[in-house]
């Protein structure tokens, strides 16, 4: 009888452990096992990704429709090659859409915003978004502003 009770409590303990692990996997790290199947991949090349990270969101009109899968360096063109996963449901993105790297809030995280184009053909798996806009780098902005203001004074 006593032995059975111990076995039961050890079972409870181990089940608790696995429940905790499942919680950490699904709720905390957002692992979704069926995610990969119902999305397609699109690539884009940027001059400067300015702090974009993998798993950042991809949004149209502010609504998340996918995430950044990977960021690699394109050796031939000296540009950043960003691979995005986009939900399968969103299959009507025009091929001339623009991808730009935006910031949510003043100091928030970077994400990719897609502006919709006008073509009738749609992006499919493996396509490239050619029209891209790099991240705003604060230092460049400031130096541009300083340069403009000094030349303005000279005139």
């Amino acid at each position: 009888m006593r032995n059975k009770q111990i076995e039961l409590l050890v079972g409870v303990f181990i089940v608790f452990g696995f429940a905790g692990l499942a919680y950490l996997a699904i709720q905390v790290s957002g692992l979704a096992f069926a995610d990969k199947q119902d999305s397609y991949q699109v690539v884009a090349r940027f001059d400067d990704i300015g702090g974009l990270t993998p798993r950042a969101k991809v949004a149209v009109a502010g609504v998340t429709i996918g995430s950044v899968e990977s960021i690699t360096f394109d050796k031939e063109l000296y540009m950043a090659l960003v691979t995005m996963n986009i939900d399968q449901d969103i299959d009507n993105l025009p091929i001339d859409s623009t991808a730009s790297i935006l910031t949510s809030g003043l100091l928030g995280e970077k994400y990719i915003g897609l502006s919709i184009g006008a073509e009738d053909t749609f992006l499919a798996s493996g396509d490239e978004v050619y029209d891209t806009q790099s991240a705003l780098v604060l230092e460049n902005l400031i130096s541009q502003f300083l340069f403009n203001s000094t030349t303005g004074d000279g005139e």
Partner: protein, 260 residues
Amino acid sequence: MKRISKLGGSVFDWLEAVGRAGLLLSQSVFHLPRSIAGALSLLGKQIYSVGYLSLIIVVVSGLFIGMVLSLQGYSILVKFGSEQSVGQLVALTLLRELGPVVTALLFAGRACSALTAEIGLMKATEQLSSLEMMGVDPYRRIIAPRFIAGLICLPILSVIFSAVGIIGGEFVAVDWLGIHDGSFWSLMQQSVVFGNDVVNGIIKSFCFAIAVTWIAVYQGYECTPTSEGIGKATTTTVVLGSLSVLALDFILTAAMFGDF
């Protein structure tokens, strides 16, 4: 001259102690049990006393540490207007550092001290020698189930600690301080990588488990068989165990997250 020989002698003593600890580990763990069912039943009893009985203290302290982290993080982050990322802060701190380390410290105090005292008392009352007289190997019968139970229980306990801590943090941040729960979870999910943060935390706590349980069984087995000796061995277990956890934590963190 005498001092130098004393110094050399203490180095040799230390090396012998390390050697005995290694032999203890290899003789108890790297032997196959005679019967699987008997070994499992011994192991089950130890998992009960080492793991299940530590559950309460781990759950309660995890809950409070998560709540405190959330409150402190909020009070600092609100100055920068980024109080939504408090979930990210709580989850990463718990998974990478506090979960494994605090659980190992609690485990050293709660379970390992008991292990040392138990084995030490067995030695003092000559139960270990009687086992040997009966032809039962005390390494296999006494040391091995306790050591393996520690290795199994500490990672499970630290996973439970982190999960409960995050629930406590969510309770404070979302229900009490009024952070929007969508941004709380989404920022957390964006920053936590399962293969990196969760798995590394489990690897860490497994390493801590080896260190503290090894120290506990060694101290119990090697203690002076008197009441004073048992008390001293128990203290040494907690002190050495805690220090080795903290030192190991620095090394493991540098190896896992230090590649900037």
